[in-house]
């Protein structure tokens, strides 16, 4: 990872999220949060502890269990001068905010001919791996990525979590951020001084010349692990993290694939009609004349997430699968 200049601490992904919110709320009085159990409880993953104490119950609002209602309230507040951060506890419950995000938030600026703005952040989670079964394990970021007017970010590291969230809060558009809940306790370097990471800039998390592995969210770490093992068998994988699904940094993806002439995509959403299809198509199209093998996709299995851990495990892409697929792809040249 590119090390930022200045002092670098190791903090968790959860702390990074919290820092981003705290800094932005201190900086800008129009920023506020609304969500379920985010007040005294400090969010169910305990990452917002103390937030309500610092900013008060008026700016850190504990809501009823009314996902569509709070999304709508976010839209209305955003239209009228505020910068709401609406928290949806599990990404699985974004099912309830699809109307507000799709038909209202994402379209308002356009429908009003550029007059109204909806500078709102929708923070939610993604990812399986906790034996939480089918309704608490989904990665549904493909849906909102399909909606023009939305921006969508999937931070993979504490540093990205902080920098992308700060940018999202300052953005004048609705931005959905999907945080992998298994990563909240993962640590990583994050500089002390303030920084932003622009929406729409991929990061090459590991350079390599033999194959491009485009990975999102927690799959970045799986890809990096696989890359270590690939290196042991003489294959240098380039791990590219798009960081935002929208805007998508097409250039970085395509250029990497052109250099390596092989590419695969890893994402924890269900593979079918998920984001892997888009990313693979962008590369297959943009790097067509450079590719030595088809672009392979590795999404989650097209099944509801089962409860039994031995079954659940099978459904999520992991370093082993990435390693095998990459090796096959490289052998297939």
């Amino acid at each position: 990872m590119s090390t930022p200049n200045g002092a670098v601490r190791e903090i968790t992904y959860g702390e990074a999220v919290r820092e981003a919110i705290v800094e932005e709320m201190r900086r800008d009085p129009t920023v506020f949060m609304i969500g379920e159990d985010i007040g005294a409880a400090g969010n169910v993953f305990k990452i917002l502890t103390g937030l309500q104490e610092e900013f008060g119950a008026a700016r850190v609002i504990d809501s009823p269990i009314s996902e569509s209602g709070i999304a709508g309230i976010g839209v209305g507040a955003a239209m009228t001068g505020m910068r709401p951060i609406v928290e949806i506890m599990f990404g699985d419950f974004t099912t309830f905010v699809m109307d507000q995000m799709t038909n209202q938030a994402a379209k308002t600026h356009y429908m009003s001919g550029g007059k109204l703005r909806v500078p709102m952040v929708l923070r939610t989670t993604m990812g399986a791996g906790r034996a939480s079964a089918a309704q608490h394990s989904q990665s549904l970021h493909a849906w909102l990525s399909h909606v023009p007017g939305m921006k969508v970010a999937l931070p993979a590291t504490p540093r990205d979590a902080k920098g992308l969230l700060k940018s999202a809060i300052r953005d004048d558009n609705p931005v959905a951020i999907f945080e992998d809940k298994m990563m909240y306790s993962v640590t990583g370097p994050v500089e002390e001084e303030e920084f932003l990471i622009p929406l729409g800039q991929a990061e090459i998390k590991r350079p390599g010349r033999d194959i491009t592995i485009v990975a999102t969210s927690s799959m970045v770490q799986e890809a990096l692990t696989a890359a270590e093992r690939l290196a042991q068998v003489g294959l240098e994988a380039e791990v590219v993290d798009p960081r935002t699904m929208v805007p998508l940094d097409t250039d970085t993806l395509v250029e990497s694939a052109k250099r390596t002439s092989r590419a695969m995509i890893v994402d924890e959403g269900c593979e079918r009609y998920g984001v892997t299809g888009e990313l693979a198509s962008v590369i297959a199209d943009g790097a067509f004349y450079y590719l030595d093998a088809p672009v392979r996709r590795l999404g989650a299995m097209n099944v509801p997430v089962p409860f039994a851990p031995s079954l659940e495990e099978q459904t999520i892409p992991n370093a082993d699968g990435i390693f095998e697929t990459a090796r096959t792809l490289c052998g297939a040249a």
């Binding site: 009314s66 209602g69 709508g72 309230i73 009228t80 001068g81 009003s112 001919g113 004048d172």
Partner: protein
Amino acid sequence: MSAEIPIQDVEHWLSLYEQMYRIRCFEEAADNLYTRGLMPGITHLYIGEEAVAVGVCSVLRDDDWITSTHRGHGHCLAKGSDVGRTFAELLGRSTGYCGGKGGSMHIADQDTGNLGANGIVGGSTAIVAGAGLSAKLRGTDEVAVGFFGDGALGQGQLYESMNMAALWKLPVLYVCENNQYGEYTPNDQTIAGEILDRARAFGIPAHEVDGQDIREVSRVAGDVVAAARRGEGPSFLQCTTYRYRGHHVGDVDRPYRTRAEEEEWQATRDPLKTLADWLEAEFGVAADVVEQLETEVRTAVDDSAAKALDEPIPEDSEVTTHVYA
């Protein structure tokens, strides 16, 4: 409910009459544009319901907010939008309020505090609470008014919104325009129990208002808006009203209701006639005074419609602007 009419001068009531009449002329002109094949798409006319929008908006300030519906022209004009730019939007012209990209169902006018018509039934019932929350968080005494039809009572989001508005004492006024029908279905088939009780269950004061009598609408709206402004929280108005025309301009047969029912409403409860009669009885405003005002308004509206037809359509390149701010 016996209307205790606030004592205000005749000019005030005449200006409300004028505004109601302007809306009626606007809608008739819109219908005409549609019938002549000059307006793209379809549109939903507010004719018959003018006293609701004008009455409520008459007690609002410029910096108060409204959210509107698919039947939104009345709200738009009542909150202060310009007739010509509204026509231009309906016609998809670049000079329309949304540069022709919104159209009738999405017309919005930030400058007059109109957060937009909405093609989603109930779609703005939570947005209005957000505007109310914003007013409160920004430390203002602005009020947010959400207009919605009786059909929106079917949408769960309304109840989520009312619960939160009540919990947090948001300065929100829920205005249910009960025009008896949702599209082609009479609402006794779709609404169980009592409408006012639905708001009261959340601890929200609720009032039934004769939506055809602007004196009553503006009096009750004035009271509850003032309460909201004082920080006393949300209120709910059910305005009993009637749309004279079809659900949209293309709904001309209206097999789902009788002509007799329509005539009854128009003959006995027309908001314009009711106000004009009272103006004559109370203030001695003569019929010819009203007629002259009407002529002026109608001429101005028709001129605006004609002018709007000459406005340019958007540049092709506009298709990709404003997707992101």
